[in-house]
């Protein structure tokens, strides 16, 4: 048997070598930030511009339909948008349709210190629980529940996360249906963006924006082009863009460098695999 050529050897490279390379390369930008440029997408800018028009008389809903596993993608965007809403004084109702929604709520709250629970000291500029913001917790029922929330919020929400009846929460007394909501920010890994578009945007003309994973972006864009959505953040990149817009660089910006490095490695691996394939195609023991 003759010795294998370099192309055959590269083509047979143990995949763990690539995984280790990726794992190590991803760590480098966190240690030595590269500061690669991130341009602002139109869909991010339109959401930012819309929130700029809102004020203390407006109420926004932040629907958390992404689990903890999607934090690297959606949390930077969720935090940045929440910070922006808080800076505008917009009242916020948080709820979620994902079982670990409590953990995501806690993560947002830890990163937006103005949000105070009922038992916490409220200072100047802070958000008082029940008055400026409220957390409903987990909801169930899929699209039927989303539709019913649009028609009659109080028929679905009987109490907040802590069991306080809805009629004793000042913020919830102000809202009755989707027409009272100025913006819905939906963060999901599945179909909830579609639900809010169908049940809130179409029927009540409520502004809907997506802060989802990158995979959802291409399916949500047709809604944006059709004028049914006010904006959309594309995964961690959208989060990084929004952090730049509000002037509060955070985890999204940090992670973008790592993401760019990972893309470069992916492109390199795809090119190398194709070159190896074509160099060995038709040869004995080769790829073709």
């Amino acid at each position: 048997m003759g010795e294998k050529s370099i192309w055959v050897k590269l083509g047979e490279l143990d995949r763990r070598v690539l995984y280790w390379t990726l794992f190590i390369l991803l760590a480098v930008p966190f240690l030595y930030p590269l500061g690669l440029p991130v341009s602002i997408s139109e869909t991010t800018l339109t959401l930012y511009n819309y929130i700029e028009t809102l004020g203390p008389d407006d109420v926004a809903v932040v629907g958390i339909q992404a689990g903890v596993s999607a934090w690297p993608e959606v949390l930077p965007g969720l935090v940045a948008v929440t910070k922006h809403l808080v800076s505008r004084g917009v009242k916020i109702i948080f709820w979620g349709f994902y079982t670990d929604v409590d953990m995501t709520m806690n993560a947002i709250k830890a990163r937006v210190p103005q949000l105070k629970w009922a038992n916490e000291q409220v200072g100047s500029g802070d958000y008082k629980y029940g008055v400026d913001w409220v957390y409903i917790g987990l909801l169930a029922g899929g699209e039927a529940a989303v539709a019913q929330l649009a028609d009659d919020l109080h028929s679905v929400i009987k109490a907040d996360k802590f069991g306080t009846p809805a009629d004793q929460i000042p913020l919830l007394q102000k809202v009755h249906n989707a027409a009272d909501i100025a913006l819905v920010v939906t963060s999901d890994t599945g179909d909830y963006g579609d639900y809010y578009i169908r049940q809130w945007a179409v029927r009540y003309k409520t502004k809907v924006a997506e802060v989802g994973i990158a995979m959802n972006y291409s399916t949500f864009i047709p809604y944006y082009n059709a004028g049914l959505a006010v904006g959309a953040l594309k995964g961690v990149r959208g989060g990084a863009e929004y952090e730049r817009l509000i002037g509060s660089l955070g985890e999204g910006t940090q992670r973008m460098d790592a993401l760019n490095v990972s893309h470069l490695l992916t492109i390199f691996a795809v090119l190398l695999a194709n070159i190896c394939y074509f160099m060995t195609r038709g040869k004995k023991g080769g790829g073709g």
Partner: protein, 212 residues
Amino acid sequence: MPYPTEPVEILGAWVGAFLTIAIYSYILYRENLVFRFAEHTYIAVTFAVSIVQAVSMIQNNIIAPLSNGQLTYIVPIILGLMLYTLPFKQVRWMARYTVSFLVGIGFGVAIRGSLTASIIDQVLGSITPPINGSPLDWFNYIWIGLGFILVTMYFTFTVEHKGAYYYPTRLGRYILMLGLGVYFGNTVQFRMAMLSGRVQYLLQVFKIIPWP
């Protein structure tokens, strides 16, 4: 935020780091006992969290109103219990009523906004020319129209894809592959972002970079 100082929080951070490494040991090394342990722990914890959340939700949204005299809330409880008859052959017909109820509600609710959201507004958005748009907007406008026609031709199976139909359907197939490639690219980007999140977390727990 500062690095956790409470013992429970520190323990939580380190357990998270250990489980992350344990899970990634599958692709960085091979299947092993530590990976299996982490995998089973993950499933068990997810299940436990779901149970706690479900009980809490039923308590707040069903039991509380029911105990306040709102007797109509007995209906969802009965429908829910009927689902549990599925494993028993003699009475599993009862579950069909719950399933048909769920399917009926789901279909009825979804159809309400679908026509506008998924067809009318999207067609209008696609056929409306970007009068004051940039050259890129015009390219997108033509691309969407052309792509729609060619991909639809590709999926027309009542006419054989040869002769005058050969090149348009071939092009439609390439456009379709391009679209699927974009979806796949987005999927890869999502997984990379998740991996970068875990790498960042490990560096934070080991105090190599600041805690978020």
